[in-house]
């Protein structure tokens, strides 16, 4: 997998420390490091992306090589230290992988990491395949040390999740390094240092642009052709696929968008009168070409996103590239598909909370307790965002990591009604805690529901501070969420098992009756990482077929066969939520295995 290639490339480059926060499509980088020999490498899931980067910065100040991984929105969280370390610079190589997600396929935004490179004035590498990613990550470390700057590395989903075979060395070992050498004039950021370094950085970036002009992954094919396509990242693979066996189109690929390799681009465009830019996310390269054309008075027509030739949103594909190219050099798209007319309607398969997911029970308890009362439900990022679906309909807002807690406060100050915040355990540690302090300090009346399932479920079940296990393979003391809340000044904290419906409803009612910040910790593990406790079944003699269980909780294991409600034995985990809802007690009989 592309993510595996990045991990192995970093190990081959002698990385000393790897830190990150899970996020699709980047999570498998750290997981791959943990699966391969990495003796002497410090490996961690940090509590969030900012923490990961700061840990890595100190390593890089000490001369060690450090890799930081996250998804693109994680870079927003890490942008504070990133901007500053860009001014200070580094000694050991510091490479930050920020995986972009055109589509978006599993993200909230379609932001472009290359813009951050430009914004922070640091180099960025943009691989177009797993093989390239493997080589380029090593190059990224080299450039980082050569110019003493942090470097961004930007794969996209289709590179991260593509597989290829690569040859790796039998043995890798972490780099030798000096350790931190004190020099407050260098490592302590002050206005004067920033002023001086700002000037140096801009001069240095001109140098890097020249250096990148000779970089082996900035390439030109068919240099004789008069029409040119400029592309980058995975779009390069798509365009190549479309232009197989064609020599009448010049194909220019830019793997280092910033600092822009201007000399290379000027040479590559020599004799070209019309150029089409095909890239995902923002028209970054297109804008740089327009700028270059302007500065050098080139007689060049530039097509791309800015003139409507290429869509701004969504991901690219071979099909889309062919469509875009059809109006330019003209490509044959008739690949000989089968006749697709008259296709029958297909089932929609939306993501839903798993059968037996404890989140379903937590949401249902809050919903029942608040029946007939006005209430607002501020959700957050995780599997539990799916609590928005019918029939639960328990997520009114979802913005970004940790925002549920703070948004519930804003709701409370501006609306009448009971305000709930839902946050997962991993999200709580990542960016929920400061929001709780804010609520206590500013006297909010909110109920914080921590949906504690002892894992980071949505991104593939990574451990976190509450799980008692870390990426060095050690068992560590669990950070206790209830104690954390207590320490932050939350006066009322109740811990319940959400699968006990009655107790859960009681806890919610109790909290709703009190003023101030209250917390309910709904504690029950994600069923995807635990063994099912048994199975439930419907007693068809008792069942009155009212379908209340189906209507109210939407568990995928509750199905109708020949008009009767039954439970799919392959899905049911025996959570017993449905049996607590059935008005005639027809569900039960836990068949323990």
């Amino acid at each position: 997998m592309g993510n595996g290639a990045i991990a192995l490339g970093a190990l081959a480059a002698g990385v000393n420390l790897v830190a990150g926060y899970p996020g699709t499509p980047s999570s498998e980088i750290i997981e791959t490091v943990s699966k391969y020999p990495h003796e002497g490498v410090h490996l961690e899931w940090s509590v969030n992306e900012k923490a990961a980067l700061e840990v890595a910065v100190a390593a890089a100040y000490s001369g060690a090589r450090a890799l930081v991984t996250m998804k693109q929105m994680g870079l927003n969280v890490a942008s504070d230290p990133l901007m500053s370390v860009a001014y200070v610079g580094v000694k050991g190589g510091l490479v930050l992988v920020s995986a972009d997600d055109p589509g978006p396929i599993s993200s909230q935004t379609e932001q472009d990491t290359r813009r951050y490179a430009d914004f922070c004035r640091i180099p960025v590498f943009d691989p177009s395949s797993p093989e390239e990613a493997y080589t380029m990550i090593g190059d990224a470390f080299e450039y980082s040390e050569k110019y003493g700057t942090p470097v961004l590395f930007r794969p996209t989903t289709r590179v991260c999740h593509a597989y290829a075979s690569i040859d790796i060395p039998d043995k890798t070992s972490p780099k030798e390094y000096d350790g931190f050498i004190k020099d407050s004039g260098r490592w302590v950021i002050f206005p004067r240092l920033s002023y001086l370094n700002h000037g140096r950085i801009e001069e240095r970036n001109v140098e890097i642009g020249k250096d990148f002009s000779a970089y082996s992954f900035n390439t030109v094919q068919n240099p004789e052709a008069e029409k040119a396509v400029v592309t980058s990242g995975i779009s390069y693979a798509y365009v190549r696929e479309c232009l197989k066996n064609r020599s009448d189109v010049r194909l220019i690929r830019i793997a280092t968008a910033f600092p822009f390799p201007e000399d290379f681009v000027l040479g590559a465009l020599d004799g070209v009168s019309e150029v089409l830019c095909i890239e995902e996310l923002s028209p970054y390269i297109e804008e740089q070409i327009l700028k270059t054309a302007g500065m050098h008075h080139l007689d060049l027509t530039v097509h791309g996103k800015l003139d409507g030739s290429v869509p701004h949103n969504g991901e690219n594909s071979v099909e889309l590239s062919a469509k875009i190219l059809s109006g330019f050099p003209g490509v044959q798209t008739a690949n000989g598909q089968v006749d697709l007319s008259g296709s029958p309607a297909l089932p929609v398969r939306p993501p839903v909370l798993c059968a037996g997911c404890p989140h379903r029970a937590s949401f249902y308890a809050v919903k029942q307790a608040m029946k007939g009362q006005k209430a607002f439900f501020c959700g957050d990022i995780g599997c539990y965002t799916l609590g928005n679906a019918m029939p639960l309909d328990m997520v009114d807002t979802c913005l970004c990591m940790g925002a549920g807690i703070t948004m519930a406060q804003g709701m409370n100050y501006t609306n009448d009604g009971v305000c709930f915040a839902f946050t997962g355990d991993s999200t709580f540690f990542a960016s929920g805690m400061t929001g709780v302090v804010n609520a206590v300090y500013n006297e909010a009346d909110i109920i914080l529901c921590v949906l504690d399932n002892s894992t980071t479920a949505m991104t593939g079940h990574q451990p976190h501070p509450g799980t008692g296990r870390n990426m060095m393979g050690n068992f560590v003391e669990k950070v206790d969420i209830a104690k954390v809340l207590e320490g932050m000044g939350v006066r009322k904290i109740v811990t319940v098992n959400p699968l006990d419906l009655e107790k859960s409803i009681k806890a919610v009612r109790e909290c709703a009756a009190e003023k101030g910040v209250k917390a309910i910790i709904f504690k029950s593990p994600c069923i995807a990482i635990t063994k099912p406790s048994g199975r439930c079944s419907v007693d068809s003699g008792k069942c009155i077929n009212c379908k209340k269980c189906i209507r109210e909780i939407g568990c995928p294991a509750l199905v109708t066969a020949d008009g009767k409600v039954t439970i799919d034995r392959n899905l049911c985990t025996g959570c017993s939520l449905c049996s607590q809802i059935c008005p005639v007690g027809a569900i039960g009989g836990e068949e323990h295995e």
Binding site: Q337, A345, C357
Partner: protein, 197 residues
């Protein structure tokens, strides 16, 4: 050899193992292989596809529309959803047993898969297998991924030898399940062979 192989189904059906075995087998036979998975979310039940591209001439990790030589569909609706990838003279190996969406009891769609099977029959050359039937001797639907792999190999359209796949099964399946998986593969192989006779 150049070959594009698309594997599709619903999360939890074991499509990933099938694609890994195909990719590893093609590699063992000396081909360059690229593959990609559309990775679903942690919850089960969503559509999943794996793209396996064999040969030097593939650049995109995903198979372009109209390029797949063979589709292995673990579910009839998913076969229709991915039919756009199939070449005109390609072949689809399709499980006739439908998997209803997990939301079926809440929002009944009446989906049974029969219309989808008929549609496929009218559109391209297909080999149909019923997972319910072929899995019976093995006692679990979990072996369907290996059986359908056998059907594909047996049809001669996969371009990979029986022995190579068997060797890969040996490598990738837990010790105590190796023999059953080999038997499942061979049972599928026979179905594939007789289907093209």
């Amino acid at each position: 050899m150049n070959k594009d192989i698309l594997i599709c189904g619903v999360g939890g059906q074991g499509t990933v193992l099938a694609s890994k075995i195909i990719a590893a087998s093609a590699m063992q036979e000396g081909s360059v292989v690229h593959s990609a998975e559309t990775i679903g979310m942690a919850q089960r039940g969503g559509p999943v596809t794996s793209h396996v591209r064999v040969g030097e001439n593939a650049f995109s990790p995903l198979i372009p529309s109209g390029s797949a030589d063979i589709i292995l569909a673990f579910e009839p609706g998913e076969a229709v959803r991915n039919l756009k990838y199939l070449k005109k003279d390609g072949i689809a190996i399709v499980n006739t047993c439908a998997v209803k969406p997990v939301t079926e009891s809440l929002n009944p769609s009446g989906y049974e898969g029969t219309a989808q099977v008929e549609y496929l029959r009218s559109r391209c050359s297909c080999i149909f297998v019923s997972s319910d039937e072929v899995c019976k001797p093995f006692g679990s639907s979990k072996f369907f991924n290996i059986i359908i792999l056998g059907v594909a190999a047996g049809s001669g359209r996969l371009g990979i030898s029986k022995e190579t796949v068997l060797a890969q099964i040996e490598k990738r399946v837990p010790q105590k399940f190796i023999q059953t998986n080999k038997n499942a593969f061979l049972a599928g192989f026979e179905i594939g062979e007789s289907a093209v006779k």
